[in-house]
């Protein structure tokens, strides 16, 4: 009984902590990875044909790799954007986040991740060709 009460107490404390903290929206790469990995682990249970299941798993794993690329592309784009800005004759020390363009580049980095986006769409469309509608819907329910 004591353990049960302790568990309920723990639940209440954690619930309050979780309720009080708002969850910031995850990055696109995190969302894509979460959707892909939720399906990757169970794809063999949904698709009986081993060859199709293996290709689907490879697709979902490639999405994870693409998500990493997306993350890297975002950071690289930001760095390139800041470097491409007009060089200042006398850069203040420490660098001014506004004058250096770093803030602007962080808010709106150039769209360099389009190649990864295109590949993602390609992979998702290929996944559909390997799945029946029923299998697709079963997997879609995972996340």
């Amino acid at each position: 009984m004591l353990l049960l009460r302790a568990l309920v107490g723990l639940g209440a404390v954690l619930g309050a902590a979780a309720a009080c903290s708002s969850r910031p929206p995850p990055r696109l790469a995190v969302e894509l990875t979460a959707r892909a990995t939720a399906k990757e682990g169970v794809v063999s249970l949904v698709v009986a044909d081993r060859a199709r299941a293996a290709r689907l798993r490879a697709i979902y794993l490639e999405v994870v790799a693409l998500s990493r690329e997306l993350d890297q592309a975002r950071v690289t784009a930001r760095a390139q954007c800041a470097n491409a800005l007009e060089p200042r004759a006398a850069r203040p020390s420490p660098p001014d986040p506004i004058a250096s363009g770093a803030l602007g580049c962080s808010i709106a980095p150039p769209l360099t991740e389009r190649a990864a986006g295109n590949r993602y769409a390609q992979l998702m469309l290929e996944a559909r060709t390997l799945l029946t509608q029923r299998e697709f819907e079963k997997l879609a329910r995972m996340r």
Partner: protein, 415 residues
């Protein structure tokens, strides 16, 4: 709800939530810091007002960027969930981004010019110094091309479906509600006074063994609990509903366990520490051990070495045992598995003739129900199958002492 709260709290405390978040919240903090520093450093009222207007331009830009991102993510998610989605659906998500981003960059450039015109260089240096002292300012020092590191996890956080492919611990944020035998947390959970497995079980002992061990010859148990992947390779859990149903109903000791694994390309190594709360005739018990798991597409092998120690109640000595279980699992179909297991167990090292070789078989079916995975499992074990060197007589097999267990375990992602 408990699991969602637990997973969120762990993610929050370990900083994982902010690592996974988009940069919007950090940028908002930086702009607010810029605002505060500008108010402090720019004394001339008209120039200060102009600088703050420029900062409002950055804020508006950030809001617009976050809105665009939310719309883009929602559009991709909608396309992903539609079976009939075509290339056009995905293109429709990214097409508006180009013009939106271009107009955003123009408005940010004009906000930047306004700010630069309003704030003189010495003031800007002081503002920069104040803002760059914040930890959030690390975001602005972007890594050079090629050196950027992704903060995405190294282990998939989805449910592991095929039993033979599972690792020693459940992935992060995956919850296992254990009410069935053959689950990972109870692998090798053989204490000197009781053998612990999940689900409903019936154990039958021959009279000789019952007299020797003090365990009733007919025993019904029901054990359930939960485990959660707290980190990518760390699992904690408890069998907190351990009931003895017959011959006498009572609440059995609770089993708590923590497992940390290290994943290698072909195998996993794990360290597990289990604890058992005191029972009616036993004190605390601990069961530290090492595990080796070799997952495979169809065949998996799991091996362990555990040293269960039962600390006796007042006046009694501790009982120390050793148990080295081995389980092979074969998946003839991805959803169906069959297992065979044995061990070398010495339940009481201080006593002679306690060496036992158990033998067991199990089977299970993995069923996907919505976003949850259910393992329906059953096992049959001779826990004292072979006595190679009993204290009296020669080696013998004991077919009359067996245990049947069945149940189901549920797996789901808490977040």
């Amino acid at each position: 709800m408990l699991w969602v709260a637990l997973a969120t709290a762990i993610m929050l405390l370990s900083g994982e939530l902010s690592r996974e978040a988009d940069d919007g919240a950090i940028l908002a903090v930086l702009i607010e810091a810029l605002r505060k520093a500008t108010i402090q450093e720019v004394s001339d009222t008209p120039r200060r007002a102009a600088a703050l207007r420029a900062l409002s331009g950055f804020e508006a830009g950030l809001t617009a960027y976050r809105r665009q991102l939310v719309a883009f993510k929602a559009c991709i998610a909608a396309a992903d969930s539609k079976y009939a989605a075509t290339r056009a659906d995905y293109d429709a998500c990214s097409e508006p981004l180009v013009s939106q981003r271009a107009s955003l960059r123009t408005s940010l450039a004009s906000a930047r010019s306004e700010y630069e015109a309003a704030v003189i260089e010495t003031e800007r240096a002081r503002v920069a110094q104040a803002v760059l002292a914040l930890p959030e300012a690390n975001l602005l020092g972007a890594a050079p091309a090629g050196q950027a590191k992704s903060t995405l996890p190294t282990r998939s956080r989805g449910i592991e479906g095929v039993v033979s492919e599972r690792h020693l611990t459940v992935p992060r944020n995956v919850v296992a509600v254990v009410y069935g035998p053959l689950s990972s947390p109870t692998f090798g959970a053989r204490f000197p006074s009781r053998i612990i497995d999940g689900g409903a079980s019936y154990a039958h002992l021959n009279q000789g063994l019952a007299d020797e061990t003090g365990v009733p010859p007919e025993l019904w148990n029901m054990r359930g609990g939960a485990a959660v992947g707290m980190f990518d390779d760390f699992e904690a859990g408890a069998l907190f509903m351990p009931l003895q149903l017959s011959p006498k109903f009572h609440y059995d000791p609770v089993l708590l366990y923590f497992t940390q694994q290290v994943r290698f390309r072909a195998f996993d190594l794990g360290v597990r520490a289990s604890f058992q709360t005191p029972g009616t005739n036993t004190g605390w018990a601990i069961d530290p051990g090492l595990m080796l798991g070799v997952p495979g597409q169809r065949l998996a092998v799991r091996l362990g070495v555990f040293a269960p120690i039962e600390v006796g109640t007042s006046g009694q000595k501790s009982i120390v045992g050793i148990n080295a279980p081995l389980r092979a699992t074969w998946n003839p179909l991805p959803s169906l598995f069959i297992s065979a297991e044995s061990a070398v167990a010495y339940d009481h090292l201080a006593k002679r003739g306690e060496l036992t070789v158990p033998l067991g078989f199990g089977t299970g079916y993995s069923l996907l129900a919505g976003s949850k995975l259910i393992d329906i499992t059953a096992s049959f074990n001779w826990d004292h199958w072979l006595l190679p060197a009993p204290e009296q007589g020669s080696a013998r097999l004991q077919w009359q002492a067996y245990r049947i267990a069945f149940g189901a375990s549920l797996y789901f992602q808490a977040l």
